[in-house]
Amino acid sequence: MNMVNAINDALDIKLAEDKSVIVYGEDVGVEGGVFRVTEGLQKKYGAERVFDSPLAESGIVGTAVGMAVAGLKPVVEMQFCGFIYPAFNQIISHATRMRNRSRGLLETPIVIRLPYGGGINALEHHSESMEAIFGHIPGLKVVVPSTPHDAKGMLIAAIESKDTILFMEPKRIYRAIKQEVADGKYTIPLGKANVLTQGKDVTVVAYGAMVREVQKAMVMAKEAGISVELIDLRSVYPIDRETIAKSVKKTGRIITVTEGPRTYGVGSEISQIALEEAFLHLEAPPARVSGYDVIVPLPKGEHHYMQDAYKIFYEIEKTVKY
């Protein structure tokens, strides 16, 4: 099962189980979404529960806030990360504040599904990875699966959560990874990182599509005799400090690999956590591999921007040799 199927499966399970779950967004109904993630769901659950909205992102998230306070569980899709910005105000001013504003009286259990990331030869605005700005919004949870199995379990957990959750989907690996995915319902707790590989020389933190790139770099690292501990962060906010702390105390070195722009990106925050938790263990400066501080280039220039296995290995080597 690939990630598209896994997400579809998660939606299917929750739609079947819970009448308050409502799925909508641009083209998610009849067409099943531009990535076919919601394919078949409208047929199965009807156009009241799975439907196409008008083309307006603020409208989608803003109405989801209303539905949620009235007891529904909207799961909405933003077509691409580059098109979530019109909804920014509704996310930062309402979805993430209703509970605090009303001292717990009102809740906004909303899942915003957001295909993100580059490497798919797309037009402008179709390759962005702006999780850091969302991670900075108090009241929001931002999670990113890296495998079909995680996608299913995390999405079910997200739909069952009472918080507003930005569920970022690494569209570059939507169909690239196939894996056995357990039937039926299971959840993966949000906010917990996953140590994918134990290692001793350096900790590498990644999430989403970058996990696979790190794994490729680890082949090179192994050849070079470097033992890498790979952490799939899974949750951009809240960050699992404990897992990071434990790992970096062991390895003394840490690198964060992300797709988005560098400055004020996820990398520096992970470094800061390493500083706060393990300063005296550090044998090299916590480092980051990231996009540059530029607009994601159109396809012909994208290779200059994307993090590949070489770039990751390059940084691993530098850090270990520091």
Binding site: P54, H94, G104, L106, E242
Partner: protein, 363 residues
């Protein structure tokens, strides 16, 4: 009503004139006398509270406050029709409706004194907190409308916005979504002629705000918002239409903000005495009072005798709010998530450690 006062024909729906005289009996709503007096008293209470808050503010006892002065008929008419189970989605100038819904003055005071607790309405069901980001709340109204329709409930949503708010993209998206979904939402634009200092004619070149209904294929009507009976009737029919599945409805309530935009604002900067006087003649309370007095349902004497009671009650609730007590540090963390993430727990501890340390430094 919606046909006769189609916004394309540029007529404003009115029932009484500035002196409280009924213009056309046909539109006069049937309200029994006792109820009408109660409504008037509620309006008077709201206005008294409103004026009193401004004076508390002058005394430095409350922070910024947006007065309702002059717009009471709109909030009152909505307040009469809104049921416990209906939803209220306010902007920030609808005190009368909030009180009718069961929000207490004390809660409002707490809010404007700077406590979030003032938005944790103890008795007002289905009432959203005040919404500050202009027009954004209308999308919540549309979404609630969807939930009502989806659950086949017999409820209506009242969504408020100002004239300035109609310029925001969210206004457009909200009425448009509601129109496509055909949901039971009454959008009420309080056209009080200004968005802070900006007059309505600088917000839009459209002939009226009601006419914007056409852009969304929904029913719309322009109503004299200072005419309680017109507002009563318009909302009554809107509620009926919504309950019959004929919503949404867009009401432009034409009114005037007699006070300042907020207590930090100085209207003399942007409007004239003449204009203010012109609108003084249309004051909604005076018009309703004239009607009541002409029907012998009310008298200046009664008003004089009730006002001190109101003031006392308002003061009582205000003092209760003033004595509300401390704001615990953990309250800023507690409601961020359904379960507190470890990070926030750590931040609470950090804060406590700091306070501990600080207490040793500050004598």
């Amino acid at each position: 009503m919606f046909n006769e006062y189609n916004p394309l024909e540029k007529k404003m729906f009115q029932v009484i004139d500035n002196n409280g005289k009924v213009l056309d009996k046909k539109w006069m709503p049937k309200i029994d006398n006792e109820k009408l007096v109660t409504i008037y008293k509620d309006m008077l209470f709201a206005r008294t509270a409103d004026l009193q808050i401004v004076s508390y503010q002058r005394q430095g006892r409350i922070f910024t406050y947006p007065p309702n002065y002059g717009q009471e008929a709109i909030a009152a008419a909505a307040g009469v029709h809104i049921k416990d189970n209906d939803w209220l989605v306010p902007a920030f100038r609808e005190m009368g409706t909030m009180l009718a819904k069961g929000v207490s003055l004390k809660e409002l005071f707490l809010y404007f004194m700077g406590y979030e607790d003032g938005s944790a309405f103890k008795k007002a069901k289905n009432t959203l907190p005040i919404s500050v980001p202009i027009a954004s709340q209308l999308l919540h109204a549309a979404g609630i409308g969807y939930a009502i329709k989806y659950n086949k409930e017999d409820k209506v949503v009242f969504g408020f916005v100002g004239d300035g708010g109609t310029s925001e993209g969210d206004f457009h998206e909200a009425v448009n979504f509601a129109g496509v979904w055909k949901v039971p939402v009454i959008f009420i634009i309080q056209n009080n002629q200004y968005g802070i200092s900006t007059p309505t004619k600088m917000q839009t070149a459209s002939e009226s705000l009601a006419i914007k209904a056409v852009a969304y294929g929904v029913k719309g009507i322009q109503v004299d918002g200072n005419d309680f009976f017109a507002m009563y009737k318009a909302i009554e029919e809107s509620v009926d239409a919504c309950r019959k599945g004929e919503g949404p409805i867009l009401i432009e309530a034409v009114t005037y903000r007699k006070g300042a935009h907020t207590t930090s604002d100085d209207p003399t900067k942007y409007r004239t005495k003449e204009e203010e006087q012109e609108w003084e003649a249309k004051d909604p309370m005076k018009r309703l009072k004239s009607y009541l007095i002409s029907k012998k349902l009310w008298s200046e004497k009664e008003e004089d005798s009730i006002l001190p009671q109101f003031k006392e009650e308002i003061d009582r609730q205000f003092i209760e709010a003033e004595n509300y007590g401390p704001y615990p540090a953990e309250d800023i963390f507690k409601y961020m998530y359904s379960e507190m993430p470890d990070d926030l727990k750590d931040q609470i501890s950090e804060h406590e450690r700091f306070l501990q340390w600080k207490s040793t430094k500050v004598k």
